[in-house]
Amino acid sequence: MISQHTDSTGTYASVHFKSRAHDKLNDAKVQRAMRNFNLAAARSRAVAEVDNFEDLRTAAAAIRDRSLADLDVWLERFEREATRRGTKVHWAETHDDINRIVIEIAKAASVRKVIKSKSMVSEESHLNAALEGAGMQVVETDLGEYIIQLAGETPSHIIAPAIHKTRDDVADLFHEHHKTPRKQSISELTMEARKFLREHFLSADMGISGSNFLIAETGSTFIVTNEGNGRMTTTMPRVHVAITGIEKVVPTLEDVSALMRVLARSATGQSISNYISVNTGPKQPGDADGPEEMHVIIVDAGRSQLIGSDMQEALRCIRCGACMNHCPVYQNIGGHAYGWVYPGPIGSVLTPNYIGLQNALDLPNAATLCNQCGVVCPVRIPLPDLMRKLREKQVDRGLRPKSERFALKMWAWAAARPGIYSLFTRIAARVGKSMGGSGGLIHKLPGGGAGWTQDRDMPAPGGKTFRELYANRPSKGGGGR
């Protein structure tokens, strides 16, 4: 299938990370929009308000690990409780299965219009295109998702999907699609979206949402939003379908309460999100509102292969976005450069695991390993370690480019021969010094180093190698230290 994540030959966009990142760095609009990012500061204020945030992170990681340790048993318990309460539970092995199941549910219920709260899993499966192909109208209702749906794009951030757009972009889109006078301010644009989406909420047949968590104890979905679209989606239409990954199951309501304390603070710097909807089964006799049918689709699509592997910690993720909000690489290139659904550090780990390491070669390398992501992750996923492991796998499987492998081989050959190594480094230290001139700075490196000096100077070496300096060090009287 051709999509925004693959081209006509089925090649993944994530393969082209380097050229995509380069384009984004030179895209003045993206660069301007990325300066609007302020979530890292909000997080740091919010975590300072509690006396023991580091302990809360440790506890949250332990709760996620408990789920993953007995994952299938917790999923079966969730299924049993959800079924007892009248929810229909479906299992999807692949992305195609997700789309097939949703279309079957929709057709059986004669659905014509679908409203969607946010669902990143449905971005993985390109559900909107599949539903439209089956003759249904699909409307995204998260404001950011709605904007990018109108623009025909994909989210560039998991909780701020349209952060790459400016208010002028949004004004143009609304003017074009709503056929209304062009609005100037963000508040007018928000009100216009409210008005248009309200009509869709009240007229839709089916609501599709993700589920931040599944509660095994009660068989409930647990949906967190600030706009209220999650509540709308689970309250107004006559059919509700929640789609989520196998890893999202959490044992008890007490456990999910602890996760909420770190989720909202890490995501938007709030002590709690404005709306949490905990839904257990369809409308009950006499209820004034609620759906007549409730479905939950539990999705594998590559997740189970992380269980028991050296990548399992990535499944703790609760999708707060803090890792991308603190990533110097993400902050400069935005989410689209990563080419698949999940950008930033967690995307650099999940994408190669879900679509294949060979289809996302540069992603584990799209990081300085500065560990900002690891320090802020609310469930303590060791993101730099996982990226390093993926880099090792690339080398082990011979997936790195020929030139890189050749260069490393040459280096290894030389490094194992002290005489030759010493000769090379002595030449390099002297040539480097002469290139630096009187200022001691190299403005332009030759060959593969040219990119490094494109935007900065490199300090020139002093002209002698460390080993030369060490051999010639002034002797300390008495010696023998």
Partner: protein, 216 residues
């Protein structure tokens, strides 16, 4: 093999355990479900009522207080007129049954539609830690009343304020057994920052949440 069996058996294989869950695994999850341990929490050393009022304001709600339920209609009228809002509302039946005759507010006890501007509800419980209102669905506690109108007024008897979400779950389990279809938590008015990261109040839900604490 069905997708269900395929996924579950893949997980079990990946975990390196036998094809079917053992008694020990079942016992482990049963023990956790019975104990339902409360995880590490921040310090909750505050007065719940004071904390609730303060956190409501923090989440951009407004807060008022009255001594008895019979004073609620006058408090609602005061709020609506000072905010220059229509003196007309839809409410849960229990709230509509109060004596509104002297208040000047026309109150109808029916579910809210898309055009109703003011919705008045009670709450099931309220959470002090975060200034959160908790609603349970039922034939008489319409979810739409706290969702569709631009202004939502919630009547919170002081006795329903609990310290944190864990206490809310514990009390709900004891009072209702199974959870109802919908448990909704609301913390202040609806908001979005999806355009240029700038906070806007009033995305899809109410623009205003006004909390009236009763019996403080």
């Amino acid at each position: 093999m069905s997708s269900r069996e395929a996924i579950l058996s893949r997980i079990r294989k990946a975990r390196g355990v036998a094809a079917e869950p053992t008694g020990a695994e079942q016992a482990r999850i049963e023990a956790h479900l019975r104990a339902r341990p409360i995880s590490t929490r921040p310090s909750l050393e505050w007065n719940p009522l004071e904390r609730f009022r303060e956190q409501c304001v923090r989440m951009s709600s407004t807060v008022d207080g009255v001594a008895t339920m019979s004073e609620v209609p006058a408090a609602v009228a005061r709020y609506l007129s000072s905010a220059k809002l229509p003196m007309q509302a839809v409410a849960w039946p229990g709230i509509a049954a109060l004596d509104w005759s002297a208040s000047g507010v026309a109150v109808e006890g029916r579910p809210a539609g898309g055009d109703d501007l003011v919705g008045i509800t009670g709450v099931h419980l309220a959470i002090a830690e975060t200034g959160t209102l908790m609603f349970l669905s039922s034939p008489t506690t319409y979810a739409a009343t706290s969702l569709l109108p631009e202004t939502h007024i919630a009547v919170v008897p002081v006795g329903v304020i609990v310290p944190a979400m864990e206490e809310a779950w514990d009390r709900t389990r004891r009072e209702t057994g199974d959870l109802p279809r919908a448990v909704n938590f609301v913390s202040g008015p609806s908001r979005t920052a999806d355009i240029e990261g700038q906070l806007q109040i009033g995305a899809h839900g109410p623009f205003r949440v006004h909390v009236i604490v009763v019996g403080a």
